[in-house]
């Protein structure tokens, strides 16, 4: 991560896509966890507390990273506030645009991760 003289992050495409990427990894790992626990799917009424706990841990970690990205983007956007749309061809507007977009993506990814985790909350076995 590149820092600006002010100590703030120099935003780029990577900081922008971090929240959805975390969402994607959370989805993949949760899916693999459930698939692995339930293959070959013959004891379908046997509870799987271990894998569900693992999904819970993955969820907490994913939500923490996404929330951190969102809070950082929010702070940096607010501290040198520019209202959207960020139309000027200037470094400042570029930064604000990326921060604002990151914030929106973080919100979406947060909800996405919660929805992905919900089945593990409601379904206790492999049925």
């Amino acid at each position: 991560m590149h820092l600006l003289p002010s100590g703030k992050t120099r935003d780029n495409l990577w900081t922008l896509i971090t929240p959805p990427t975390v969402w994607a990894w959370h989805f993949l790992l949760s899916y693999i966890t459930a698939a692995y626990a339930c293959a070959p799917n013959d004891a379908i009424f046997e509870a799987i507390p271990g894998p569900r706990l693992l999904v819970a841990v993955l969820t907490v970690v994913a939500l923490a990273i996404i929330a951190w990205c969102g809070v950082r983007a929010w702070r940096e956007w607010q501290s040198e506030y520019v209202a959207p749309p960020f139309n000027e061809a200037s470094p400042a507007h570029r930064e604000r645009f990326l921060e604002f977009s990151t914030l929106l993506l973080a919100g979406l990814s947060f909800v996405g991760v919660v929805f992905v985790a919900m089945p593990a909350l409601f379904v206790v076995d492999c049925r």
Binding site: P40, D42, F115, L121, V123, D125
Partner: protein
């Protein structure tokens, strides 16, 4: 351009007639017919279908309410108050109406659906019924051991064979084990429950809990080849006592043997593919015909079961059902076909 004008002219003309007033009524009746039909999720003939229906109505009226509010806001913002609106109010509306409301609503719907699912997939009662989706019909076996699901598996062997018609006991959670020897099919009885795929090399399960007696339609809900759309079946819901009697009847050998029809059936090689228990016909390729006469339909739910239809099907299988995996027998003369069809029709 011209055709649009002509169309409008026709429409205008039609709207003057009494016919136009009849159209909505007819449409409503057609809809009501679908709603009550034997192939409708609205038939309310099973616990799962009923809760899907409940969800549908909630979502429908919820959708209608949202639609009215959105249009109302649109009208308000353009007609009574077309001037510029307060920016803060606008932003709040986006935040609450566009972010918080949909997120919370979707979370509630998801939670509601997730809470419904485990009980429907819960343990079943009694023996299971094995159902194999085969291009383009359904092999049925009553009284197999329940719970044998999983991957790298086949359906449990044995059971009492039948085809294209499944009898179910009323009010009992009956487990259907699903498999396939060829391609992926999907087992769906809309009036009773949701659908589950029948996948080669694995055994899936669905539990049907019928709440109404009667005859309902089932279909294949996953494209599986030429005759996919003609791969249907019937589900007959009866009382548990009648169910036990029905399974016992299916287990018995053919009720009528030693006829000319049977002779012709065997002489023409039908027995290579079909079983008629109690005769020499022991084929396993096509549907078991031991009690074919007692089924409501033939050719997987597409023709009424009459001797004429059996004869017509055997004479020109591919004509009746394109892509069917049974050869046609155009070389049989009417007299022979009638004898075979009459015999099969008598196998109650």
């Amino acid at each position: 351009m011209r055709s649009v004008g002509a169309g409008e002219g026709r429409r205008a003309h039609r709207c003057e007639g009494a016919f136009a007033r009849g159209v909505p009524i007819l449409a409503f009746l057609a809809f009501a017919g679908c709603v009550r039909g034997p192939q409708s999720t609205f038939a309310g003939a099973g616990t799962e279908a009923s809760s899907v229906e409940g969800l549908f109505w909630w979502m429908l009226w919820g959708g209608v309410a949202i639609w009215i509010v959105v249009l109302g806001v649109g009208v308000y913002a353009s007609r009574p108050r077309p001037a510029a609106h307060d920016e803060i109010v606008g932003k709040r509306m986006i935040l609450w109406g566009g972010v918080v409301f949909p997120t919370v609503t979707l979370a509630i719907l998801l939670g509601f659906g997730l809470a419904l699912m485990p009980p429907f997939r819960g343990p079943a009662e009694g023996q299971a019924i094995a159902v194999s989706g085969e291009r383009f019909w359904w092999r049925v076996a009553y009284d197999v051991e329940p719970g044998q699901t999983g991957v790298a598996r086949g359906l449990p062997p044995g059971g009492i064979e039948s085809a294209n018609e499944i009898v179910l006991p009323l009010g009992v959670r009956t487990e259907i084990l699903l498999g396939s020897p060829d391609v992926i099919h999907s087992f769906w009885v809309p009036a009773i429950a949701g659908k589950v795929d029948a996948i080669p090399g694995r055994v899936n399960r669905i539990v049907l809990e019928p709440t109404k007696t009667g005859v309902f339609n089932g279909v294949c809900a996953e494209f599986c080849g030429d005759a996919h759309a003609q791969m249907a079946f019937r589900v007959v819901v009866v009382t548990p006592e009648e169910y036990a009697a029905e399974v016992a009847r299916q287990a018995s050998p053919a009720v009528l043997t030693g006829t000319r029809g049977e002779e012709l059936f065997l002489a023409n090689g039908c027995g290579a593919c079909h079983s008629v228990r109690g005769t020499e016909a022991q084929g396993r390729v096509g549907p078991d015909l031991t009690h074919v006469g007692s089924r409501r339909t033939i050719a997987a739910g597409i023709l009424d079961n009459t001797p004429e239809n059996i004869a017509q099907f055997v004479r020109a299988t591919g004509h009746v059902k394109q892509g069917v995996e049974m050869p046609a027998y155009p070389m049989l003369d009417d007299d022979e076909l009638t004898a075979i069809a009459d015999w099969l029709g008598a196998l109650q």
